[in-house]
């Protein structure tokens, strides 16, 4: 998404990214980024929390109005949970799932080879289970 934001800016359309993968976005470099420190999947706020979702977008509009230079980043004040369990859990690799991941990788490579043979060139990143 960062690459698309950069392309749009280069062609005269101002952009705002709202998201939760801060390291990836900062590494790419984007004009304006509103950061919500939540698990990936709900960048506009907690499911069914209408007021939070509205306030997130209002903050985004505010960032659009105030930012004057590239790499303008603002963090929202919301927190997902009181502990870090969700942070530690993302794409975790440990002895409990190492064999399963290796097997899944084999399956995936077989599938990728079949797709390539069929002329399909698009592939998503590996989905987190």
């Amino acid at each position: 998404m960062g690459l698309v934001a950069r392309h749009l800016e280069e062609h005269g359309i101002p952009t705002l990214i709202i998201g939760s993968a801060r390291d990836i976005i900062e590494h790419c470099g984007v004009p304006r980024f509103l950061y919500l420190d939540f698990p990936l999947g709900n960048p506009c706020g907690k499911p069914y929390d209408k007021e939070m979702q509205f306030n997130v977008i209002k903050k985004g509009i505010s960032l659009l109005q105030t930012s004057t230079a590239a790499n303008s980043i603002e963090q929202l004040e919301y927190s997902w949970a009181d502990d870090n369990a969700w942070r530690d859990d993302y794409s975790k690799v440990d002895d409990g799932n190492r064999a399963e991941l290796a097997r899944r990788g084999e399956d995936r490579r077989r599938q990728q080879a079949a797709e390539k043979a069929a002329g399909r060139t698009r592939a998503a990143m590996i989905a987190e289970g």
Binding site: M1, G2, L3, V4, A5, R6, H7, L8, E9, H11, I13, P14, T15, L16, I17, I18, G19, A21, R22, D23, I24, H27, C28, G29, V30, P31, D37, F38, P39, L40, G41, N42, P43, C44, G45, K46, P47, Q53, V56, I57, K58, G60, I61, L64, A70, S79, N84, R87, D89, Y90, S91, V93, A102, R109, R122, A123, A124, M125, A127, E128
Partner: protein, 158 residues
């Protein structure tokens, strides 16, 4: 007090790929300079377009990953997100407004805080191949936003 830290997604993804037997690490896009376009008019006079990484929840959208455009009204009750790398074990994407801000922008349009919401929003496939994104999808998204005559784009990756 538990120390809060940003999830290191690049490192986690690298280790996840390695654990699946991939020998070459993914190289994330990195740039030393970043373009910046100032707003051409105040937000309350601007037309805003939205771009999501979710796909239409249709047979076609589930099958073929490409750029799609959908009307902002009626707001879709669901979007296809199953293939994306969001955090499936701790949350869900059953509430479209938690990742696609159409309802919120409609509210801001009604209160006059934005000029208007574009009639369509656009679906952008997340891609392993950065070349597919930069050579094909980014120009396609630009074309569609120009057709919509948007002044500002809000991009919301899951």
């Amino acid at each position: 007090m538990t120390e809060v830290y940003d999830v290191p997604y690049m490192i986690r993804t690298r280790d996840y790929y390695r654990a699946q037997g991939y020998e070459t690490d993914y190289v994330w896009a990195h740039n030393s300079e970043t373009p910046f376009t100032p707003l051409s008019k105040p937000v309350n006079e601007s037309k805003i377009g939205v771009i999501t990484t979710s796909m239409p929840d249709t047979e076609q959208g589930r099958k073929e990953r490409r750029v799609y455009s959908l009307p902002v009204s009626p707001i879709p009750k669901s979007m296809y997100t199953a293939e994306l790398s969001w955090h499936h074990t701790v949350t869900h994407t059953d509430d479209v407004s938690s990742f696609l801000p159409l309802e919120q922008l409609k509210r801001l349009e009604n209160s006059g805080e934005i000029g208007e919401q574009a009639d369509k929003f656009h679906c952008l496939p997340t891609e392993y191949s950065q070349r597919n994104t930069t050579k094909n999808d980014a120009p396609e998204i630009l074309n569609r936003l120009q057709e919509d005559e948007v002044d500002i784009a809000i991009l919301v990756p899951l």
